[in-house]
């Protein structure tokens, strides 16, 4: 099986030689949502960073291939790789509070890159940014474009980052725990928004999270990561019906809402929104007890 993004036998290690990722393989098909689940420290964020070329300096790719849009990124020069990433992929970061440059207005943070890197005209970039802000349900986009990040709420900033990620119509978006840093009530809306934008734009999405519940709602397939190793890669409903690896089964059993496998049989595309809302509602009820 090979996808739009195909990571093959990727090994990443510290300078001391201690491996962080051990021969990891995973595939994200075009237009599909692939979940990447694991505990914190399992290395799931490092896969996203390895693909995007933003690994911390202390980490190095030892071996493996990262195919994106038919090109092995690891064979490219740093400059060519940057260009390839910039043109085909985008990131929705984890913490919207630190992911916008505090000294710049919102507008340029969305448009500059379209102009600088992709060669758009300023007018086009401006129009595109307004259109996208509208699409992510931001009221009064003109005013928001002129604001500084600190003037906006966390949810607003995450919407802006989502808009910015979709701005150049990338073929692949990596969402790195995009709701973890947000309030529970806002999480629901952001999750709905990501799903909505993904299906509208038909973008392949690698959804990195520790929350199996979230994965079951938005993903078509998933990989389970443990201690830098992929234990299982599966289609969604097959995974919930018959988890192959004992760790997967344990993980599934530990996710309270999904102990009943029938729930996981809900078809994804149509019922995502209701399901997410339901999930949050249940979460809220649990939290209020």
């Amino acid at each position: 099986m090979s996808g739009y993004l195909s990571v093959r036998n990727l090994t990443v290690a510290l300078q001391t030689g201690e491996p962080i990722l051990r021969s990891v393989s995973l595939n994200v098909a075009a237009g599909q949502v692939h979940g990447l689940v694991g505990e914190s420290g399992a290395g799931k964020s490092m896969i996203g960073k390895a693909v995007l070329g933003t690994l911390p300096r202390a980490l190095h790719v030892i071996s493996g291939e990262i195919w994106l849009d038919g090109v092995d990124l690891l064979k490219l020069s740093p400059a060519a790789r940057r260009k390839q990433i910039g043109a085909t992929a985008a990131l929705i970061p984890q913490d919207p509070l630190t992911a916008l440059n505090p000294s710049k207005r919102i507008g340029p943070q969305i448009t500059r890159r379209l102009v600088d890197i992709l060669g758009w005209s300023k007018q086009n970039a401006q129009a595109r940014a307004l259109e996208l802000l509208d699409e992510v349900h931001i009221p009064n986009p003109e005013r928001v474009m002129r604001s500084y990040p600190h003037e906006l709420s966390g949810g607003m900033r995450q919407r802006i980052l989502i808009a910015s990620a979709f701005a150049a119509e990338p073929k692949l978006i990596i969402a790195d725990e995009p709701t973890t840093a947000l309030d529970v009530t806002v999480q629901k809306q952001i999750l709905r928004l990501i799903a909505e934008m993904q299906s509208h734009h038909g973008t392949a999405l690698l959804f990195v999270t520790h929350d199996l519940g979230v994965v079951s709602k938005v993903c078509d397939s998933l990989s389970v990561l443990y201690a830098g190793k992929v234990l299982e890669e599966a289609r969604m409903h097959r995974f919930f019906m018959h988890p192959v690896h004992p760790y997967s089964a344990a993980l599934l059993a530990a996710t309270p809402t999904y102990t009943n496998p029938i729930d996981s049989l809900l078809p994804v595309s149509e019922t995502v929104i209701e399901a997410v809302e339901q999930e949050v509602l249940e979460h809220d009820i649990r939290a209020s007890r």
Binding site: Q15, P56, R57, A58
Partner: protein
Amino acid sequence: MRDARGNIRRPIGARLWLSGGWLTLLALAAICAPLIAPKDPLMQDLFLGRMPPFWMEGAEPGYLLGTDSLGRDVLSRILYGARLALVVALVAGTLTCVAGATLGLVSGFYRGWPDRIISRFVDIWMAFPPVLFAILLIAVLGPGLLSIIIAIVIIDWTRFARVIRAEAMSQGAMDYVASAQVAGRTRFGTMLAEILPNVLPTIVALLTLEMGIAVIVEAILSFVNLSISTDSPTWGGMISEGRTSVHQAWWVLVFPLITLFLTVLSFSQLGEGLKDRFDPVLR
């Protein structure tokens, strides 16, 4: 070696040894100056004026580093000059440290009116150009070793007070201080038992730094002829003389300058090295 963020961590041993070694050597030279100095540092011989150091043509045997315009031996004057420099460094440095650190601790830990008064004085002090202040004080107090020491303490206590105040303030806000007080320690007891040990690495680093600064202040005051009487050799006085005859006899300037340079560098490197070694967080 790198730490978690990829910062290079240099071994701290080398600079501690080098700077400590130089300062020990200097201290020995100062103590033993009468025994090891080849000449009387005050002896003038106008026939032997501006003799070059030993490796150059025309050097006079016995005058290793040459002579100044009055025919005095440069090496012997450097050795005797080390006495004054080190006395100023130790005494003025320590007194400044005690005065400034105490005021800083009180200001930062007790807050309230002591802090307001001390901080107001620090503000006023910060508005003085320090060198001018020093020169003014020496003019008032009259030249002499004691005047230099008093002047340094009066001028530089703020350096300690500012830094220690900030440190004591951030330490005082931490939970362990509150729990010490809950456990029944007095405020003064808390300051000595909880705050002081935590700011001590900073105090030690500042102290060695201050010793270097004291040496420089003495040199600057000698340079403008306001240090102590002209019959004691001082590095600053030698530099002042060397500066005027630099085109005719560079060695009169170069040797005391190198000595001063290494001494000041050693004091500050020693301070940094000690701070790294004793800082409980970094260690």
